[in-house]
């Protein structure tokens, strides 16, 4: 039990470090000079899943085993870490030095912020919750791992399916869970319900922190209090349907990540755009968030474009800029594309079989 707890904490840190490395690479490519650790983690989270989607879809649509994807992804992870380290090592070094200095100078702030997040993590990670959707999402990871396949067997019953369920096909977030379980040997329940839950709580609070920093500037006390109130609200804004309920009980689900990380992230990006609506890097961030969200959950296909529209419209009017609308629309194209794909699938215009037609299993 103790080993598993330690393993969970280590893997949460590994996740955050991986996101940081991925984000750091994008920042380096984008020639961002100072290291922005928390922003790198957030951007990296979306880049990580965007990049994962490519080999995942290729391997899955060729009916290859999960282990092929696991090996491919392990190689890609190593490559990204190496390339990112080469491109950002000096930035990491100076960034780490300034981060250490910041922590030393703001010890009380850092300890309190960590404590606020840690309390939420402990409560969520230690609680038993019965949710119906886990019968699909978690069982899908367990089934993929057990059969060494991807999305081919029905998670509810274990039976072979003759076609991929398109609603979940492109949202490959759960397949990443399966890959990580295969690479680490961790049971899917421990991975999803503890490790990914903990990771999601940290990411959610990082977005709150970034928004707080934008709204309150350097007033650490105000930011801390905002983090505290946000924590309280998330544990008390509960009905079957609220995003806070998803965060506290179904933390590891793609939908929960959309409601609690993606949507606040879009708000954060539009706060940034409010300061400089012509800055290309914010649109890049928005694009990565939008495309990344389609991989987390198909729920984002309609929700994310709607959210972007809600924030882009007032900004465009305020700035008297049609460019804001055009660029925002371009950013949500991946979501709209996925939505159209799903509609076409529902209308029976295409299907991805789990076996090639020539083998006559349909």
């Amino acid at each position: 039990m103790t080993i598993q707890i330690v393993l969970s904490i280590v893997m949460i840190l590994v996740n955050i470090i991986l996101y940081f490395v991925f984000g750091s690479l994008v920042m380096a490519i984008n020639k961002e000079k100072p290291l922005r650790a928390t922003l790198s983690v957030l951007v990296g989270f979306f880049v990580y899943y965007c990049l994962f989607d490519i080999p995942c879809l290729i391997v899955m649509l060729h009916w290859r085993p999960l282990s092929v994807l696991s090996m491919t992804w392990a190689v890609i992870l190593v490559l990204v870490v190496v390339i990112s380290a080469v491109m950002s090592f000096t930035r990491w070094k100076s960034g780490f030095a300034s981060l250490t200095q910041y922590v030393r100078e703001n010890m009380a702030f850092c300890i309190t912020a960590v404590a606020i997040v840690a309390v939420q993590m402990i409560l969520i990670m230690h609680a038993y919750e019965f949710t119906l959707d886990a019968a699909y999402y978690v069982a899908n990871v367990t089934t993929s791992l057990r059969t060494n396949t991807m999305n081919i067997y029905d998670p509810f019953t274990g039976d072979w399916q003759n076609h991929f369920e398109t609603r979940y096909l492109f949202a490959t977030y759960t397949m990443n869970d399966a890959v990580m379980c295969q690479l680490t040997g961790i049971h899917p329940l421990l991975w999803t319900k503890t490790i990914m839950s903990g990771t999601a709580v940290i990411l959610t609070n990082i977005v709150y922190y970034k928004i707080g920093r934008k709204l309150f500037g350097n007033s650490n006390g105000k930011i801390l209090l905002m983090l505290f109130f946000a924590g309280v609200l998330n544990f008390f804004y509960i009905s079957t349907f609220t995003s806070s309920n998803f965060m506290t009980t179904r933390t590891y689900e793609g939908k929960s990540l959309v409601g609690n990380i993606v949507l606040p992230m879009i708000l954060y990006i539009f706060i940034c755009l409010g300061e400089d609506h012509k800055n290309r890097k914010y649109y890049l961030m928005l694009f990565l968030t939008c495309i990344g969200s389609t991989i987390l959950s198909s729920s984002s296909n309609m929700l994310v474009p709607a959210t972007v529209a809600v924030f882009a419209l007032p900004l465009a009017i305020r700035k008297k800029s049609i460019g804001v609308l055009v660029k925002s629309a371009l950013c949500v194209l991946p979501c709209l594309f996925m939505m159209v794909m799903y509609v076409l699938y529902v209308k029976g215009l295409f299907v991805f079989y789990t076996y090639p037609p020539l083998f006559g299993k349909h």
Partner: protein, 294 residues
């Protein structure tokens, strides 16, 4: 929102949706109060960030015409509530609360009192996720111990790698999360239909519908003709039935010829000798891979 329908509710849908969405929480009302506060006392930037997008939300997501219009293109009955997620309730309320505490040059003591008061108000106007109690996880899998025990008992008894079972509701939803080598006779939709009492006598009387027949027995307590019941077990290759200790169907199962092969604190595992057991095997894709260049 399974219970709400745009076609039936029409323009009232959004109000019913908000009601169900909020449950016992008054945070959407607090959200409006916070917007008014920012409108009066906030900065221009506060209004730009929160007020104007909220107005767009008012004219779109919260507009009674909007769900009706969207529903004519997409079926959004079940998922419209997710549009309410766009409203940044948690962020706006936490920001405003923090702003109020630091609003004037209060002393530390006063700030603490105001902060505590706001916390109490937020807690009072909401519903705690642990309102019905906090249930700590029983093990690292965050599964009831019985799920692990049932899985182990079935595997110890079974002669095959992938035995098939039909379980009571909770067990059926949880066991494959822990152990995907146990196959289930009914999927979630079939199970939910049974729980909702939507398995009719006609369905039971007609050919096929084997999972429904098994569920009619287990969930709805229907004592089917033994031959019909056994035919359903054979057709679905179901060897094990897991049910509550106190279920009155245990007696029926025993009369049908099933044997008790395991028992946990609250559950009984019954076994049926299949007439013609079919071994479940994973699909072989090796021929497909040979044909592929990749």
């Amino acid at each position: 929102m399974q219970t709400l329908n745009v076609q039936e509710s029409g323009f009232l849908y959004i109000f019913k949706c908000i009601g169900l969405y909020s449950g016992g929480c008054l945070y959407l009302a607090l959200y409006i109060a916070a917007l008014i506060f920012l409108f009066k006392k906030g900065t221009k930037r506060d209004r730009e960030i929160f007020l104007y997008p909220s107005l767009v939300l008012l004219f779109t997501v919260f507009n009674p015409v909007f769900p009706v219009a969207i529903n004519s293109v997409f079926d959004i009955n079940k998922e419209y509530y997710r549009f309410i997620w766009i409203t940044p309730v948690v962020i706006l309320l936490s920001y405003t609360a923090s702003k109020i505490v630091f609003e004037n040059d209060y002393s530390k003591g006063k700030r603490t009192i105001i902060g505590a008061a706001i916390t109490c108000i937020l807690m009072g106007l909401g519903v705690s996720v642990y309102a019905k109690g906090y249930t700590p996880a029983a093990n690292i899998y965050k599964m009831p111990e019985e799920v692990l025990q049932v899985s182990e008992m079935i595997h110890n008894h079974a002669n095959v790698e992938y035995p098939r079972a039909l379980c009571d509701y909770n067990m059926n939803m949880e066991i494959r999360q822990y152990d995907a080598s146990i196959l289930l006779a009914a999927d979630r939709e079939q199970y939910m239909n049974a729980v909702a009492g939507q398995i009719s006598d006609e369905m039971i009387a007609s050919e096929g519908n084997y999972p429904e027949k098994l569920l009619a027995m287990l969930v709805m307590g229907k004592e089917l003709d033994f031959d019909v019941f056994k035919e359903a077990l054979d057709a679905t290759n179901t060897e094990y039935i897991v049910l509550d200790h106190y279920s009155r169907m245990i007696y029926y199962l025993e009369k049908a010829g099933l044997n008790k092969v395991g028992e946990t604190q609250t559950r009984v595992i019954m076994h049926y000798d299949l007439k013609d057991p079919k071994k479940f095997e994973l699909a072989d894709y090796s021929e497909v891979w040979k044909e592929q260049k990749f």
